[in-house]
């Protein structure tokens, strides 16, 4: 019952529409819209919650208790903040490229929202079951680089420009090891379909068979999300807030929330690729699959936050050097070892 609750709801709507005499084509369209809307709402609410969670985690790790005034236990803190930010003036400095300056915070949410349409939240729970889902995720994710850059460039501020150049070099450099790391997984599964990747982990999660790939992927994901220890883009002690420096009000809030949306994607992808997605460990199948997915995802998100509130920030040359000199060769070696391992595995027929 719980397991299929979302699918049941979808089917119910579909039947309802069908019985109302809506043609099949339109029915599909409406269903797609419903699904995507659900995902968007989910992400937005989650982003709000994640801001709260981050502040709570930070507080607890720093011997304080975090927000606790607005709403029960401070739950409505982010909502209040957003309310405040919306009501604030969006300051547009002189000489900025006005259109791009305003466009960037709007566009920044597009890639994460798009990516979420292919992520399987549970058994048979994905908006679009794309054949090359993994590829799709990376293709879309690479777009956000451009949008960060737009924000930074259009601000007409040297710190923003420095930050946006950092974003580009950082995200471009870490995309490579990230994909190369995943090649090991892809080789084992033989498919780019995310649900197939999950199903291939039935016997053992890939974190066990591909630990190096997991490590590389995770590090690269942290870097792609611009999180500590790779948060050079913001680096508030160096370049104030990087591309966000000139943003105020809702523009800033959009960037801020988008960061959390990106974290969600990173952790969802980690879950899907290495932690068995919605598969239940130890045969605990009475807990619905989507719940498992969220549990795993939140564990990964917690690790993200844990890292952030523990580590200092690396330097730009160290960051790039680490990416190119350590992660890329390591991921290549991983591919090589995986290939040999697979060959031996098949040759021996174990």
């Amino acid at each position: 019952m719980l397991e299929t609750i979302f699918i049941d709801i979808a089917n119910w709507i579909r039947n309802l529409l069908g019985s109302a005499g809506v043609p099949a084509l339109w029915n599909d369209t409406v269903m797609m819209l419903v699904k995507l809307t659900a995902i968007i709402v989910f992400i937005l609410i989650n982003a709000l919650w994640l801001v709260y969670m981050e502040r709570k985690v930070a507080g607890y790790m720093q011997a304080r208790i975090g927000p606790n005034r607005v709403g029960p236990k401070g739950l409505l803190q982010t909502t209040a903040d957003i309310g405040k930010l919306i009501s604030k003036e969006i300051i547009i400095p002189k000489n900025v490229d006005k259109i791009l300056f305003l466009l960037a915070p709007v566009l920044i949410f597009v890639p994460p929202l798009t990516i979420f349409s292919v992520i399987p939240f549970g058994k048979n729970m994905m908006a679009i079951d794309l054949n090359i889902g993994l590829f799709f995720v990376f293709a879309i994710a690479s777009l956000s680089t451009l949008i960060f850059w737009i924000g930074g460039w259009s601000s007409y501020n040297k710190y923003s420009l420095l930050g946006s150049m950092r974003v580009i070099s950082q995200m471009v450099s870490y995309e490579l090891p990230m994909m190369l790391a995943l090649l090991g997984v892809i080789m084992i599964v033989g498919s780019l379909n995310l649900s197939e990747i999950i199903l291939a982990q039935e016997s053992a999660w890939f974190i066990i068979s591909q630990p190096i790939a997991f490590l590389i992927f995770f590090i690269a994901a942290v870097a792609e999300c611009n999180r500590v220890p790779f948060d050079l883009m913001e680096g508030e002690s160096e370049i104030i807030a990087g591309p966000y420096t000139e943003y105020s009000g809702m523009g800033f809030a959009m960037f801020f929330l988008a960061e959390y949306a990106n974290i969600m994607i990173a952790s969802a992808m980690t879950t899907v690729l290495f932690l068995g997605g919605w598969l239940a460990p130890f045969g605990l199948t009475f807990i619905p699959s989507w719940l498992w997915f969220f549990v795993k995802m939140y564990v990964v998100i917690f690790v993200f936050m844990w890292l952030r509130w523990t580590y200092p920030r690396v330097r730009i040359d160290q960051l790039l050097g680490f990416g190119w000199k350590v992660l890329v060769p390591l991921s290549l070696a991983n591919i090589f070892v995986t290939g040999i391992g697979m060959y031996i595995y098949r040759a021996l027929g174990w």
Partner: protein, 174 residues
């Protein structure tokens, strides 16, 4: 061939976006805007590829063109700083002449495209569903030498680009 009204609508919308942004790329005076229009153009081109059942190419298009080529160009622009970005993308002296040539090219192209009897060669076989497998297989069997050559080309281009853009040592003591 399944024809769906969505496809038609999508085609016209995408074509409008592509052509619109292509015109803007050429017309806009700020080179950065030009690049951003280029990105928009590339992404909608991916949509066209989807319509053409080339899913893999659509993704490649986004990944390489929008994700890599655009960023590379932006990097290039950032390295070539100029005083006023706003006047960075102007027309040159032979614009009118060029317009004439282009108009003629377009006319010839159009006439030829209109004249050709496409229906004769069109086959009604649908594109196989597992295109990714097929392309992968072909690339590594029948087209393996071009594939390797392309890899070599990329390596050569990489090295060449690095050599060209390498820091020029001033006085040799830097």
């Amino acid at each position: 061939m399944e024809t769906c009204i969505y496809n038609v609508i999508a085609f016209y919308m995408l074509a409008a976006v592509i052509l619109g942004s292509a015109v803007m790329i050429v017309a806009v005076r700020n080179i950065v805007h030009s690049v951003l229009f280029l990105a928009a153009c590339f992404i909608s081109m991916a949509g066209i590829y989807l319509l053409l059942d080339a899913v893999y190419l659509a993704i490649i298009q986004v990944l390489i063109y929008a994700g890599a080529v655009c960023i590379m160009i932006i990097f290039g622009i950032m390295l070539i700083r100029r005083a006023d970005m706003k006047e960075s993308n102007l027309f040159n002296k032979q614009t009118k002449l060029a317009a004439g040539v282009v108009a003629m090219t377009l006319a010839v192209y159009g006439i030829l495209a209109g004249k050709t009897a496409w229906t004769d060669v069109t086959s009604n076989v649908p594109v196989p569903a597992d295109s990714l497998d097929k392309i992968g297989g072909l690339l590594l069997s029948q087209y393996v030498i071009p594939f390797e050559v392309a890899a070599l080309l990329l390596t050569v281009a990489l090295i060449g680009a690095i050599m060209l853009a390498r820091e020029v040592k001033a006085d040799g003591d830097n």
